[in-house]
């Protein structure tokens, strides 16, 4: 996919005037049931936005070359933006005109609608390999924020749409978009007859089964370049860590011995995996070279050490240990050394995941029997609970740190919870059958 910024985007987001109360996001409504229904995941809103969403209009792109059924790029872009809770797209039926470029727009029409930003675009060139041109317009400033031309192809229409949404999101929020990323998660079929390792788009669409097993699959983890997955499989009768190339499906065991190994986490350079290895019923953290070689034992403690996570610079490893009365988060140098306790709030903080570029860490926090996802500030150790539980687990950050996905055990149902940190919106992804669990949000891939 070719990418070219024709005019160059302006860094600052458009002005955000508040003229009317925040648009309501539909509560408990099925929003994104796309035509691929058979394989598609259901997406449900659990909690609404607590912030004012940016009113935006995503005008359907004009196909100037269409022969068969024109692909609706704008629909995907709009759905991506709306999902975050940070944007409130206006309905198409209320659009008075449908311009396809900035020059065709009458700004007053849009100002009347209280829309702050408008995305317009058109598709030209060949039908199989069309060129998508789009422009993001700041209605009040009356200027173009972003003008791009993207080369797409028939099998990459969705990807192109997500890419456009990424660019719009970054322009309007300042944070890199996360719509072109992928998710990995485990689907457990009814009766636990089959365990499937699935890779899907960030919106839960296009799920692809990359591994099927009658034995449990656990803890998928993306390599930093997004090309590999590490995960736990029980196919040998006990927990064992495998690495698998996503594109080819080629796989090999990382820890082919009698000891069970679990909770793989990649080092930022992609050369090592931190793994919880269970020797004589004592789980400790070991560092395995991905290309083979003997593992280095990192923790040496009779308590349970598990759920490792490298710091972004790779110098430290965070992990869960129950050397205190409940599981708590500790940190130690990745070359070995003294472990220091990090979490002190309450008696259960487990499964640390660091928020990219922030001094924050997501944990599973239990209090009064409720397991909830909390966001801990690493500087002052304060804890903010994001979800209600009662059985939430396995948090994983989007690479831009603005959202996290987790295994949701809510009263409204089970599935993959997606929490958008800026808006407070929580959504639930569910499969038509079985349970989805243990999600891992993949890295930026371009």
């Amino acid at each position: 996919m070719k990418l070219r910024n024709i005019l160059g985007g302006r860094a600052s987001p458009p002005s955000r005037r508040t003229r009317r109360p925040p648009p309501q996001v539909l509560c408990l409504a099925v929003l994104a049931l796309l035509p691929l229904a058979a394989s598609a995941q259901l997406d449900i809103v659990i909690t609404r936005s607590t912030q004012r969403a940016i009113p935006i209009a995503v005008v359907p792109f004009e196909w100037r070359v269409t022969l068969g059924l024109p692909y609706d790029f704008a629909e995907i872009v709009e759905a991506d933006l709306a999902r975050t809770g940070q944007f409130a797209p206006m309905g198409r039926e209320t659009m008075i005109t449908r311009p396809t470029s900035f020059s065709e727009m009458r700004l007053t029409n849009w100002r009347i609608m209280d829309v702050e930003a408008v995305l317009v675009g058109h598709v030209s060139g060949s039908e199989a390999n069309p060129t998508v041109e789009f422009e993001l317009v700041d209605v009040y400033a009356g200027e173009s924020l972003l003008v791009y031309r993207l080369q797409s192809s028939r099998d990459a229409f969705r990807a192109t749409a997500h890419r456009i949404a990424d660019l719009v999101y970054e322009q309007l929020t300042g944070a890199r978009g996360m719509f072109s990323t992928r998710l990995a998660y485990v689907q457990v079929t009814p009766g636990r007859e089959e365990f499937r390792l699935i890779v899907a788009d960030a919106d839960g669409q296009n799920p692809i089964v990359v591994l099927r097993s009658t034995d449990p699959i656990m803890s998928p983890s993306w390599s930093p370049d997004g090309a590999w997955l590490a995960y736990v499989s029980f196919e040998a009768g006990h927990a064992e860590v495998f690495v698998q190339e996503v594109a080819t499906g080629q796989r090999r065991p990382l820890s082919p011995d009698r000891n069970s190994a679990s909770a793989p986490a990649w080092s930022p350079d992609g050369r090592f995996l931190a793994v919880a290895r269970n020797v004589n019923a004592n789980s400790d953290i070991y560092i395995y070279p991905v290309d083979g070689g003997s593992p280095q034992r990192l923790t040496r403690h009779s308590a349970t050490e598990t759920e490792p996570e490298f710091s972004p610079d790779g110098d430290r490893v965070y992990f869960t240990s129950d050397r205190g009365i409940g599981p708590q988060v500790y940190v130690m140098p990745s070359r070995g050394g003294r472990a220091q306790r990090v979490s002190f709030t309450g008696s259960y903080n487990a499964r640390p995941r660091l928020q990219p570029d922030r001094n924050q860490m997501a944990v599973v926090h239990q209090q009064d029997g409720r397991f909830r996802i909390g966001l801990m500030d690493l500087r002052d150790e304060s804890l903010r609970l994001l979800t209600d539980g009662p059985l939430d687990e396995s948090p994983s950050f989007a690479p831009n740190g603005r959202a996290l996905i987790f295994g949701a055990g809510t009263t409204a149902g089970r599935g993959l919870g997606v929490y958008f940190i800026d808006s407070g919106v929580m959504r639930l992804l569910r499969a038509p059958e079985g349970i989805l669990r243990e999600p891992a949000w993949g890295p930026h891939e371009n």
């Binding site: 656990m218 803890s219 006990h238 269970n278 019923a281 789980s283 349970t304 499964r351």
Partner: protein, 199 residues
């Protein structure tokens, strides 16, 4: 013993003893519907039971004697009342309290029976599968299941099983026995399953 020297004098005593012996073994044997006692040696009897495999009803138990005291199992794997609580036909699931890996006292006889059975059947192996309920993180539960399996391993080792016969694994919360998000389901999922390997 010198009863041969004084046969006449000893005769009544001898008879009494013989009768007594006949009586005791007779009374105990009568309620047992199975075939004849396999032999006087308890270990041999148990060995025969192993060979019989799954034929549960056909297993001999001629050595159970019944006096005033509590009934006593003389055969590895059986409870005091003669039921199988150890071995492949024994109690095969041991349940645990929430977030704990300590063994409830009620299981000590069961573990003893399994330990004795394994001691008497050195060629047999058992897989100890530790499980946890769904509460808590999956990885932490994997470790918890492992601790539970290990507790049972320790007990069986101390009660006669050889360490080569035991293989502890953990499935964490991945293979619940009961589905559901309530204490009824959870209590059934916090467990160690003894899986006797068939060979």
């Amino acid at each position: 013993m010198n009863f041969r020297k004084n046969t006449k004098a000893c005769l009544p005593i001898l008879l009494a003893v013989v009768l007594a012996a006949c009586e005791t073994s007779g009374t105990a044997a009568q309620p047992e519907p199975g075939p004849d006692p396999a032999g006087p040696d308890a270990a041999t009897a148990a060995g025969g039971a192993t060979a019989a495999g799954a034929g549960s009803g056909a297993i001999a138990s001629g050595t159970v004697i019944n006096r005033e005291g509590p009934p006593v199992a003389a055969e590895p794997g059986r409870s005091a009342s003669g039921d199988w609580i150890g071995g492949p036909q024994g109690t095969l699931v041991i349940y645990f309290d929430y977030d704990r890996s300590s063994i409830r006292e009620e299981y000590s006889q069961v573990l003893q029976a399994h330990g004795a059975w394994l001691a008497a059947n050195q060629g047999q192996a058992v897989r100890l599968e530790g499980h946890a309920d769904e509460r808590g993180t999956p990885e932490y539960n994997l470790a918890l299941g492992s601790r539970r399996a290990n507790a049972v391993t320790q007990a069986l080792t101390a009660l006669g099983a050889g360490s080569a016969q035991l293989n502890a694994v953990s499935f964490g919360e991945e293979r619940p026995a009961a589905e559901g998000a309530d204490e009824i389901a959870w209590s059934q999922n916090r467990r160690v399953e003894l899986v006797y390997e068939t060979n």
